[in-house]
């Protein structure tokens, strides 16, 4: 059951008698932001380019006539991960100077096929309104001491909601604040929602598996809606040279941007090969670089000083996409998301 705003209910009547009804997920195109308030008040989705600016998502008070309101940021796309074994991390702030209201009430909802999980963090002293839970187990500050969920979000902080072994936990800047055993389940991930009382700001959201692999990353760098949503490709880099590829088309394919996520000063060189070798030196004179963009379908040598993680976000490459193989050597990628026998892959080239 998917119970977000982007869910619709289909009823089946037989001889005027309700026989069954089902919740259906209506996928969004990346993120959707809207204002809500008391009494079921809800505004239309905002123009995403009014919300996503300067690398963050922020629904300004100027965009609504309401003086008492919540802002909501919703992604109703499936994420290939079991919601009962996941970790969602968001970097947020909601200072009063930028529209934070009342007890601020910063919420993270994880929606799954079978249920949902939530953490609601209030400003210190407002824990009466705090909440946490998953599946069929939820507690609120009105019946449980949730004073540990009182957070100061006047500046950037990271809030984590983690589900593992039927234990739902929340962390504040990596420090465990509260854990709760829950019954029931969340199921396969179907969406995320982040809400603020008043206006708050999101820098990024990461969805990870329990091995810290990033399955989904949203950095709010682009307001252009990509049908099917963006995906993240996580590439682990060993010290020294690595021969990598990705099945994602980055929104900005310049080498400088794609590798900007690596630790500062860690990238040494990138080399490509397409009918000849090309080269990128992040510390050299820019006009001497012959490799300036990532081209879909090609492999790249990447040299780093220390182990690092490269995350490429964007639109997935069409599985039917093929690169032309010229005679001689070619550095390329494969189109499978899993490990696949080399004879099978080569036979498809």
């Amino acid at each position: 059951m998917f119970i977000a705003i982007q869910a619709i209910i289909v009823y089946l009547y037989i001889d005027s008698q309700l026989d069954v009804y089902k919740w259906l997920q209506v996928k969004s195109c990346d993120w959707e932001s809207y204002v809500s308030s008391n009494g079921g008040y809800q505004e239309d989705f905002e123009d995403l380019c009014d919300v996503i600016q300067n690398g963050v998502a922020y629904l300004s008070p100027d965009l609504t006539p309401q003086s008492y309101y919540w802002t909501n940021h919703l992604n109703s796309n499936s994420i290939a991960l079991n919601g009962d074994e996941c970790k969602v991390v968001m970097r947020v702030k909601d200072p009063s100077s930028e529209g934070g209201l009342s007890c601020y009430n910063t919420r993270l909802n994880i929606y799954g096929q079978e249920g949902y999980a939530i953490v609601a963090c209030m400003m210190t002293g407002c824990d009466y309104y705090s909440a946490i839970g998953a599946g069929e187990t939820f507690v609120g500050g009105n019946n449980t001491d949730l004073s540990d969920l009182g957070q100061d979000l006047q500046n950037w902080h990271e809030i984590t909601l983690q589900l593992e072994n039927n234990l739902v936990s929340t962390y504040y800047d990596g420090v465990l604040k509260y854990s709760l055993n829950y019954v029931g389940s969340v199921g396969d991930l179907k969406g995320l929602k982040i809400s603020f009382k008043g206006s708050g700001t999101i820098d990024w959201v990461k969805v990870k598996d329990l091995n810290e692999n990033v399955i989904y990353l949203e950095e709010f760098d682009n307001c252009i809606c990509t049908p099917g949503g963006s995906v993240a490709d996580t590439i682990y880099l060993n010290p020294g040279w690595n021969l990598i590829s990705t099945d994602v088309i980055p929104q900005d394919s310049t080498i400088e941007t794609v590798f900007s996520i690596l630790n500062s000063g860690n990238l040494v060189y990138v080399s490509g090969y397409n009918n000849g070798a090309s080269f990128y030196d992040p510390n050299g004179l820019p006009f001497l670089n012959t490799l300036n963009d990532i081209t879909r379908g090609y492999g790249y040598w990447v040299k780093v000083n220390d182990a690092d993680t490269l995350i490429v976000t964007g639109e997935p490459i069409d599985p039917d996409y093929r690169i032309d193989f010229n005679p001689n050597w070619r550095s390329g990628r494969i189109s499978s998301s899993d490990s696949t026998g080399i004879r099978k892959i080569i036979s498809q080239i």
Binding site: D233, T234, I235, Y236, N238, W241, N242, L243, I244, S245, T246, D247, Y269, S271, Y273, N275, G276, A277, S278, F279, D281, G284, L285, F287, L288, N289, T290, Y298, G299, Y300, W301, K303, F325, N326, P327, N328, W329, R330, S331, G332, R333, I334, S336, S337, D338, S339, T340, G341, I342, R343, I345, I346, S347, I349
Partner: protein
Amino acid sequence: MIAEGNLIYVSGYNQGATFFDPNGLPFLNTLLNMENSFGYWVKINGTSSMINPDSHSDHEFIGSNKYEFFNGRIDIEGVNGSVEILREDGSVCGEMKILDGGYLMTTPVYATNAIDQIGVRESEKLLFRYKGEILSPEVEFRGNMELRKLNLFRVTEAPQLYCYPESKQWKIHS
């Protein structure tokens, strides 16, 4: 592609090189599966020559999956055109376009490999020539994919060194 006999080799790299030879003994292959997020070198039949698009050169070079990059500066007044990179036998194996300010555009030099037996040998001396004049210094080819930053100058401007050809082998005496 395997059926057509077009594939020669596939090579991967994950903390060490792996290899797949479709025509070899299967149990000698160390690359058995291709994994997402990794790149692979694929060698198919035929050879292709390439022209460095930045050099405006007529020279064609045979590529391989082993190479080294060169760039840097040439310390000579009023230079233009390009600097040729020569092998020990005097053949041209690369060319660097001269940019404003005497900067030398990045260019690869390709190593020989076990398959083609063409290209520059590891440890082979490389020389640099500008309008027929051999420059200093010479370098030793490594073929390690790294960048070598050069600062080329006229031999006459470094009187302690001079170069001369001898049986197609260039040597430097001090």
